[in-house]
Structure formats: structure tokens, C-alpha cells
């Protein structure tokens, strides 16, 4: 299977701070990827590096095998990007905003872009500065979709949107990606939204990849366990503890298992499938603990 996105040992330093630290992962084509991580984990920096808006200190990011550092136009022709701030020219009308897309891109599907805007109930004559936050997000997305991109990079597409606008945007996103068979990478803090929308997960904790993989497989390989402390050795013999919280009478752990593992029943040992939210939290907690220890 071809790779839509590949980060290879990407390091980015801002002064002495490492925003990305040998970050490595890849995304197969056709996936909808949720890229999660705390603020400052390097998500935005990574997306910017992918399309040449920023340059890595070391390493490279490839989009369908091409690095923006080497051939930015090839990368840009394949990628639709919506920045976190959803920047648009305030004085432009919506129609002029789409015209910008047509004028600045070799490949541009004007009818397709217009359809997205009109489906969202936005008139082409409307000026950008009069749009609501949700409408702005829709216009920014339409501008990215008009390129008919093979890869869509969305930085916090749900930020600042009300629940209704979120739902509308996610629905649009999903139908757009099925319709044009585009790979989507979106960053978000909304685990629930990612669970509904995405089929691939990348957890970025302070510049490093903590976990990357198919969401179903990832969730299936993790268990949430609560047990009296004396069971800790037993847990460790059958699984890898990602993160554990120990109290006097109880240990609650999120563990990774490989294959089917049998667990003794009763005596206070509770084993259940992990959900995505606690899984993400466990990895982020572990990442923070490791960095603090270092």
C-alpha cells in the first residue's frame, strides 16, 4: 500500500526547545487520521513542515514520496491545507476567495468548491468578514477541497465551533474524503470526534510519536485493568503497562496486550476493553512522566 504521509526522524528546534524530536511515523493512503497530543506537542509544526511552511532542523516529511524541501510545488499541488486560524482575506467575498483558489492552483475544480460553499448555505457574494466562525471554517475547507487534494491536512478544524457546526463540518469532511478518496490528517483535542470520524490514530507527546496505528486494532490491543496491588506482577507477566496509577488498595492500569490473553477471574481483578479516551490519556501521561524524568 502506498504511503500518503511519512515523517522520518523529523526534528525541529526553536532555540533550545525541541518542538519535534526524531518524530517518525507513516500514514497509508486512504485513511482518515486523528493526530492528537497536548498543546505544544508539535502537531502544527509537523503539518507546516509537510507543506514547506516551515523547515525541519533535521529529518524529512514526505507526501506521496515527495518532500516539500525538495519540490514544494508537487507537494502543494496534492495537499489541501487549512491552518488552525482559518486565515482568509477579510475584504474578499466568498466568490473571490474561491477565485483565488482557481488563480493560484494549476488544478482547480471550481464547480466542486462552489458546491461545498453552497451546500453550507453561504452566498458567493457574502464578504468574508461578515461570516460566522462556522461559515469561515466551511469556506476555508472548500478552498482546500477545490484543489481536489489527495491529502487533506486540517489543523484543529473543530476549534471554536459550536456543536452544530462541528457536526456539519465533520459530516462534510467524511463525505468529501469518501467522494474524492482523499487521505485526511486532522489534529484535534476532541477524542470523541476523532473516534467517530477517524480510522487511524497518531499520538504525539512532546515531539515524539507515542503510538500510531489503525484505531480498531489499537483499541483492541489495550485493556483497562483495576485490581488490588498484589496483582501487579501478574499483570506485568501478561501485558505491558502503558500507564498505571497506584493507590493504597488498588492499581488501575492501562495495558497493551498481544494476542488473546487469559485473565484469572474474581478476587477484585477487573479487566475490560480500553476506550479511546483513556488510551490517549494514558499515553500522554506516560509521555509527560518520561520527559519530566529526563
Amino acid at each position: 500500500m502506498s504511503l500518503a504521509f511519512e515523517a522520518i526522524d523529523v526534528t525541529k528546534k526553536f532555540g533550545r526547545v525541541r518542538a519535534l524530536d526524531a518524530c517518525t511515523f507513516s500514514v497509508p493512503a486512504g485513511r482518515i487520521v486523528g493526530l492528537v497530543g497536548p498543546n505544544g506537542a508539535g502537531k502544527t509544526t509537523l503539518l507546516h513542515i509537510a507543506i514547506g511552511l516551515n523547515a525541519p532542523t533535521a529529518g524529512r516529511v514526505e507526501v506521496f514520496g515527495t518532500s516539500a524541501a525538495e519540490d514544494v510545488l508537487t507537494v502543494l499541488s496534492r495537499v489541501g491545507f487549512v491552518a488552525q486560524e482559518r486565515p482568509l482575506y477579510r475584504g474578499f467575498t466568498v466568490g473571490e476567495t474561491l477565485e483565488l483558489g482557481r488563480r493560484l492552483n494549476a488544478r482547480w475544480d471550481a464547480a466542486y468548491a462552489r458546491r461545498w460553499v453552497e451546500n453550507a448555505g453561504i452566498a458567493l457574494e457574502q464578504r468574508v468578514e461578515t461570516l460566522s466562525g462556522g461559515e469561515r471554517a466551511q469556506v476555508a475547507l472548500s478552498l482546500a477541497l477545490g484543489k481536489r487534494p489527495a491529502l487533506l491536512l486540517l489543523d484543529e478544524p473543530l476549534g471554536g465551533l459550536d456543536p452544530l457546526a462541528r457536526r456539519a463540518l465533520l459530516q462534510e469532511l467524511m463525505s468529501a474524503s469518501t467522494e474524492s478518496e482523499a487521505t485526511v490528517i486532522l489534529t484535534s483535542h476532541e477524542i470523541a470526534a476523532i473516534e467517530r470520524t477517524c480510522d487511524y490514530l497518531v499520538i504525539l507527546g512532546r515531539g515524539r510519536v507515542e503510538l500510531a496505528g489503525d484505531i480498531e486494532a489499537v483499541v483492541g490491543a489495550h485493556l483497562s485493568i483495576t485490581a488490588p496491588p498484589r496483582y501487579e506482577d501478574l499483570i506485568k507477566s501478561r501485558a505491558t503497562i502503558v500507564d498505571a496509577q497506584r493507590a493504597e488498595r488498588q492499581i488501575s492500569a492501562l495495558v497493551r496486550v498481544s494476542g488473546d490473553v487469559q485473565w484469572p477471574t474474581g478476587n477484585g481483578l477487573e479487566v475490560r476493553p480500553a476506550n479511546l479516551e483513556e488510551l490517549v490519556l494514558a499515553y500522554l501521561r506516560r509521555a509527560r512522566a518520561e520527559r519530566t524524568a529526563k
Binding site: H48, I51, G52, L53, N54, A55, V72, L73, L76, S77, V79, F81, A83, E85, P87, L88, Y89, R90, G91, F92, E96, E99, L100, G101, R103, L104, N105, A106, R107, A140, L143, K147
Partner: protein, 317 residues
């Protein structure tokens, strides 16, 4: 890119065109009217029917009608090209950063180099046209500003090469300040101060010396219409003579009663060892001086453009 540049900057272009049109209208109308008015008043004095000393009345009348133009127009001819820096150049890159639209426009299918190069090319072309118009207006407006024809070296400021040079230099400086600071207001202030200082430096320091002036030790060899950029006395070693020494020498000249046999320069040279030295630019050099200044402005502008391109390409969006 051409469409985008027009769409983004049409308001600025409109304001600039309106300003130019206003100045042009006033300059041309008044400039065309002034010679007839001056002639009907018998101006300039001393050449026609009115004798010198009696022309205060006609001059006052001329000034009542056109006087407001003589501080205003020359000021605008200097100011307008310089304002290109803070008002057109500075926001060009800085505004995109400030509103984060850099992330939008630089993630379309156009490289940043082409983006900036196209904008600069279009702005440069528009400024070229504007400068030609403004220099033409200055030419036509001159009789309204000055009753007698202006001296050539005072008109350098009004020439097309200096106007277009200033405008291109100011544009590049503003763009560079914007690419460096990424803040519109900071870039505007820097551009305003820097263009002002650079202009003052050019007018007072570089313009007289950019084309090496002719040095002479005899007043008689200086053509009457020459621009004397410096004059004074030196001693035998070529050092400038302190003013006290010069006054003493002159007093000596008058006391000795040598005025009949000597002119003062010859006396000072022969008896006191003080030699007259002057540096001047002859009128034939008008075009060369203006072109040299244009060359200076354009080369600095090109260097600033190169630096701006480097900044825009290398720094994060």
C-alpha cells in the same frame, strides 16, 4: 497572481491614483495659468517695464494667488515618492504575517518566490508610471512655484530619475522592514524613519559628491550657472584654513591697501600662502548626477529585494 495582486491592493492603488490626480490637477492648472498672470503683472522684475526695487507690489500680488503652492508642491514632490515605503511597501509582507494569511496564500500552488516577485514587479511598474506622471506635473507646475525659472540643481529633486529612484528604494525598504519585523506598524515606522534619513543623507552628503566634483583654485574658472558644492581656503599643505586665520589675513589685505593692485584671492595666495579652493558641478552634469542617484537607489533597492526574498523563503510562514 496578477489578479490576486490587483484584488488585494486595488484600494491602495486607488488612493495613490487619487492623490496623484489631485496634485496633478492643481499643478497643471496653476502651472499653465501662472506665466500669463506673471506676464500681466510685469514679472519677472528688472527685465521688462518694471525697474528693480519697484516690483514688490506685483510680486505680492503674484504670491497672493500662487504663494500657497510654493511650500506645498515641492513638499509633495518629495513626500509622495517617499511615502511609498511605509504605506505600500511595509504592509506587503507584514500584513500577511499579521493576519496569518501567509499560511493561506503560501499553501496554494505558487512558490513564495513567485508570489513576492510578481507583487514587486507589478508595484514597481505602477510606481514607474506614477513617477513619470509626477515628474511631468513638476515640470508643468514650476512657473506657479517660482516666478523666475528654478536653478537646475534645485530641480534635481523634481526630476524623473530621482522620483522613480526614491519610490523604488522606498518600496524595497518597506518590504524588507515588513519581512523582517512581520508587524505592519513596526515596519511602517522603520520605513518612515529609514527613508527619511536615507533621503536626507543623499541630498546633503551624496548628491554633491556622487559624481566627483571639479576642483578649482580660481574663481574665474567656475561657470556662472555651476553648482558650487564647497568653497574655501587651504594652506600650502592643502589643509583647510581656520576662520580666524582667514579673517586676520583679510584684515591684513585691507589694511595694507593692496586692493588696487591685487584682487583678494591673489593677495591671499601670494602674500599669505592661503589658496582658494572650490568644488563645483557644471550644469552639463545635470543628467549624469540624476542618473547616478537613480543608479544608487536602484542598486540598494535590488539588494533589499534580494534580502526580502531570502527572508520570505527561509523563515517559517
Amino acid at each position: 497572481m496578477i489578479w490576486l495582486t490587483y484584488r488585494q491592493h486595488r484600494a491602495e492603488a486607488l488612493v495613490a491614483a487619487v492623490l496623484l490626480a489631485l496634485v496633478g490637477l492643481v499643478g497643471v492648472v496653476e502651472g499653465l495659468r501662472a506665466p500669463a498672470v506673471a506676464a500681466s503683472l510685469g514679472l519677472p522684475c528688472g527685465t521688462g517695464s518694471i525697474l528693480p526695487g519697484t516690483c514688490q507690489g506685483p510680486l505680492d500680488q503674484f504670491r497672493r494667488e500662487f504663494g500657497w503652492l510654493s511650500p506645498t508642491l515641492p513638499f509633495l514632490f518629495i513626500l509622495l515618492p517617499a511615502l511609498v515605503g511605509p504605506f505600500l511597501g511595509a504592509p506587503l509582507v507584514a500584513r500577511e504575517h499579521e493576519f496569518r494569511t501567509s499560511l493561506l496564500v503560501w499553501s496554494q500552488g505558487v512558490t513564495r518566490t513567485r508570489w513576492l516577485a510578481t507583487k514587486l514587479l507589478l508595484f514597481g511598474t505602477a510606481l514607474l508610471a506614477g513617477a513619470i506622471l509626477l515628474a511631468a506635473v513638476a515640470q508643468v507646475a514650476e512657473p506657479a512655484v517660482s516666478v523666475t525659472p528654478m536653478i537646475w540643481y534645485q530641480r534635481i529633486e523634481w526630476s524623473f530619475p530621482v522620483m522613480v529612484g526614491t519610490a523604488l528604494f522606498a518600496l524595497a525598504l518597506g518590504v524588507f522592514a515588513g519581512a523582517l519585523t512581520r508587524r505592519v506598524l513596526a515596519a511602517m515606522l522603520i520605513a518612515l524613519v529609514a527613508v527619511g534619513l536615507a533621503r536626507a543623507g543623499v541630498v546633503t552628503q551624496l548628491r554633491p559628491a556622487l559624481v566627483a566634483p571639479i576642483v578649482t583654485s580660481s574663481r574665474r574658472t567656475i561657470p556662472p550657472d555651476a553648482w558650487i558644492v564647497s568653497s574655501g581656503y587651504v594652506d600650502a599643505d592643502g589643509r583647510a584654513v581656520p576662520i580666524e586665520r582667514l579673517i586676520a589675513a583679510n584684515n591684513e589685505f585691507f589694511r595694507s591697501g593692496s586692493q588696487r593692485s591685487y584682487n583678494s584671492d591673489d593677495y591671499l595666495a601670494e602674500k599669505q600662502g592661503l589658496y582658494f579652493r572650490a568644488a563645483y558641478q557644471p550644469k552639463e552634469r545635470e543628467g549624469i548626477i540624476e542618473t547616478a542617484e537613480l543608479g544608487l537607489y536602484v542598486s540598494i533597492a535590488l539588494a533589499l529585494v534580494a534580502a526580502s526574498l531570502w527572508l520570505v523563503r527561509r523563515r517559517p510562514a
